[in-house]
Symmetry: C2
């Protein structure tokens, strides 16, 4: 389906999912394109980002951010074009990075919107390596990971937009970088294209042993995107004074109950104590948003120079977004999943 | 038993304990007082510190420090007097702070030994508020806790030498301070003498609810000494961006197996993520030893001015040390347990 000039398609949250989202979670609605008021601009969304954090917003469990209300449009980062503007600093035809949501059109007063100018080279990359996932990778690694050349970095979700960027920055900074990804194709990409020193397939037999063999000097930094069995394999390999930026736990987002015992909570605390480790959770814009300009300049240079590679998986059409999101949570994405709305 | 001028009594590690140490763990031996060689000094231990970390050194589980060897003297911090010296900077009659072990006499080449001069006011306090436990409290709170006036600090083991000091420093720095201790007498001491805003008895019924009521604004810093049920009560009360210096887990040191499930390891990781918390384990001399001079100056002033109170529980005689240590692990100590050797 193509975008209409007069009607706005939008996915609203129909009900909160138990476990994996399904067809009853989101509902497609149409309405007239909204009319901007004074001090507002009208955006036509061109690209919608799909990100694991969205699962959290579907739930009303206590979290760092308010849940999406039942009946409200599902939130999401977008790259859009300005159709009309009563906001200083934004003109018709400008490309912008915004939180336009799972819909064709959005109104904005400019808060949190970044102007990308009239002709950005790869507009959708602002949803990946040059945007939130890129900042997440850069800030989490540099600010929490505190990398020192020669150390060993292990990155979960290594073929995803955050993990791929973390590992490539790690190589630029002189680290020994080992990725973890699901499947031989992703692992080949991580090593051959992204330049990691090694990549271990967590779906293959003997995963913990293969990981151990790949980090002969232990692990100094573990960039956590995944949790579950991947964390279990990493934990005994961590070195004293290891740093763990806790960025995501995609393996746990659809969990409906705690796994069976034994209870390893105090085991983890004891490991933190004995190994003098640092674990720190972060939400990128809340914790490191003030570093965005520094990030944008540095990452822009790296991407332009070909030092950081970036892979997108384009989903053609808003109507495919819900299924693509469920697949993302299942680990089926290969690169950054972006929904192209203007098809 | 009094100290002999010619014979050295020492407790050696007879066998590694399973669970709680017992009569078979340590063995009392006697030998001639050792003769110092070139570049050595002979110390007569006056006070021996009892500390929870010693339990870890009895085991050969992977840890931050090598275990005590079977047959070797049990390690421990001591305050001693110099009997003879071939070490620059140490003269006969000087009081020193050293790691002299569970014995009457020790040899030293001066490494890691601090000279306290000829007539320190309270020599044994160098094993508590003015020594390792004090530095642990001060460094853990200020360096990892990153306290800001008006925040809420919760301190486990609040009547112990570390916890008591953490909370009193917290009050000096303008925090709302709530202690957790075992029993009404300890809690009364924590509030009435140490000046905490409140103290919750973890042995009393309704502990989690009482703790919750004592922290109406949630918990910004939790100084972890205990683990187990105390941590379980703290976890849901932690605020976003909470900091947790992980200093000790006394409730877990004698554990021989993981508790029954469900497995809450990923629950803890998820809480770290959602609340953007920082957990950091530390070993005080390894991580913060370089801050000792700054600590000693500051704490010396506070103690002299009466701003930091200190309670000792003196155990009279080396032969009572093993039972006193087991009691310490059971939470029976009320204040800093020190063994007086020169009785």
């Amino acid at each position: 389906m193509t975008q209409s000039d007069t009607r706005n398609r939008k996915f609203v949250l129909a009900q909160r999912p138990t476990g994996e989202p399904d067809a009853s979670t989101l509902r497609l609605e149409t309405e007239d394109v909204p009319v901007p008021g004074k001090g507002q601009m009208l955006l036509r969304n061109a690209y919608l980002s799909l990100d694991p954090y969205m699962r959290g917003r579907m739930s009303d469990a206590p979290s760092y951010a308010a849940p999406v209300a039942i009946g409200a449009v599902m939130i999401g980062g977008t790259v859009a074009q300005v159709l009309s503007s009563d906001v200083a600093g934004f003109a018709v035809g400008d490309w912008v990075q915004a939180f336009g949501g799972w819909q064709d059109y959005a109104l904005s007063d400019g808060t949190g919107v970044i102007n990308m100018g009239k002709s950005p080279e790869n507009p959708s990359w602002a949803l990946g390596v040059l945007g939130m996932p890129g900042l997440t990778a850069w800030a989490g690694l540099t600010q929490i990971g505190q990398p020192k050349a020669g150390e060993t970095l292990v990155v979960a979700g290594a073929s995803g937009p955050v993990g791929a960027t973390v590992g490539q920055i790690g190589k630029i900074l002189g680290l020994h970088v080992v990725g973890i990804a699901g499947g031989a194709a992703k692992c080949a990409h991580v090593v051959d294209t992204l330049g990691f020193d090694a990549c271990i397939d967590y779906k293959a037999g003997g995963f913990p042993g293969a990981l151990k063999a790949a980090v002969p000097d232990g692990i100094d930094i573990y960039f956590e995107n995944v949790g579950g069995a991947v964390f279990d394999a990493v934990l005994p390999l961590l070195n004293p004074k290891a740093r763990i930026p806790v960025c995501g736990l995609i393996s746990q987002y659809n969990a409906t109950a705690l796994p069976d015992g034994p209870d390893r909570l105090n085991l983890l605390l004891g490991t933190i104590l004995r190994k003098r480790m640092t674990l720190r959770g972060f939400i990128v814009f809340d914790d490191f948003g003030h570093l965005y300009p520094e990030f944008a300049k540095q990452m822009g240079e790296w991407v332009k120079a070909g030092k950081v590679q970036y892979r997108e998986e384009m989903i053609d059409g808003l109507e495919l977004a819900p299924a693509a999101f469920v697949g993302l949570l299942r680990g089926e994405a290969f690169g950054k999943r972006v929904v192209k709305l203007a098809v």
